[in-house]
């Protein structure tokens, strides 16, 4: 079913246009990578702040204020560029196990990030006891989660090589 949809999408005029202009895919991929770097850099800084490694001179809400907009807007750019890449190469993207695992982790990543921000907002101002052990583990888990998301993003191109018999690719 997914394969049929991917093949239909690949035959649409929009997809054919993206396929036929050589520089679109590499340019959009480059924007996608620059943006994931900005998002991950922001995420990493927040995590390191929770772990007490950087920006200890700033209260956590100030650190979030500095970086959360970059994460939120960055994810919008990633979604837009990602969509162009899917429309441009639907079979390569949708018929890839890495792609679907990545989307699953992405949903977890966004939900956990939102939950984390909410928990910080709900904390009383003043007399901040500092991040809890749970928050610290959450920070580490979020970084690992997003590293996996980046890893799987690149692995989409090598579905057969990475997943072997589990691969969804028609090449398998």
């Amino acid at each position: 079913m997914v394969h049929g949809f991917a093949q239909w999408l690949q035959s649409t005029r929009l997809s054919v246009t993206i396929q036929s202009v050589d520089w679109i895919i590499p340019t959009v991929q480059s924007i996608h990578i620059v943006t994931i770097a900005l998002v991950f850099g922001s995420l990493l800084t927040i995590a390191l702040r929770v772990l007490g490694r950087v920006r200890t001179d700033q209260p956590l809400p100030a650190v979030l204020e500095r970086f959360v907009p970059w994460i939120r807007n960055g994810i919008l750019v990633l979604a837009a560029t990602g969509l162009v890449l899917i429309v441009g190469e639907p079979v390569r993207e949708l018929m890839s196990l890495s792609f679907w695992v990545k989307m699953g982790l992405l949903a977890c990543g966004i939900v956990s990030a939102a939950a984390f921000c909410r928990s910080v907002e709900r904390r009383p101002a003043g007399g901040d006891p500092g991040p809890t052990t749970a928050a610290k583990w959450g920070a580490v888990a979020t970084v690992v989660l997003w590293l996996l998301i980046i890893f799987l993003g690149r692995a989409i191109a090598y579905d057969v090589e990475v997943w072997g018999p589990l691969s969804l690719s028609p090449r398998a």
């Binding site: 520089w23 480059s30 800084t45 980046i150 692995a155 090589e161």
Partner: protein
Amino acid sequence: MDLMPIAEALKASSLSEWMRGSLRALPVIESIHVMAVAVVFGTIAIIDLRLLGLRDASRPFTRVFRELLPYTWAAFGVAAVTGVLMFLPNATTYVVNTAFGLKLASLALAGVNMAVFEFTLLRSVAAWDTANPVPARARAAGAVSLLIWTAVIVFGRWIGFTKGYDFSVPKEIDFDFLGTLLQSVGPHLRG
């Protein structure tokens, strides 16, 4: 200098053989390369945005700089090692690949920009550590750094799209749009 004999020797090395013999080695190492690149660019961008006065204007520059640089360097080390591993099995085609050459040239430029910054502006940082705007030359270093590192990523991605075309940038892909892009962005970076 003819690099081809060196490239052939590297391609014949046992590490290169291991890379070529394993189905998963290249995709896994390439994915780790992108993870490392994300940390390198993400942390450098935070420092550059402070130089440009666009973010963190109230924090001393040295704090922003010194607390992130260890992570930048660690990630750069990972990117360099994985980059060499990706280079080895393709050494003979990479040395004649235009995008690869441009990427290495951009990396060299980034190094020069950073060295000049460290040996001139950073020496006098006490005078402008908490300032915003920082001196014009320090702002310029930040803007140049952002542009160069973006170029590193763009050329890096371009390597993958030029491999299939006789391993050089094909005629039908022109870089004119990059020039146009720089022309349109350039005036906004001044000031």
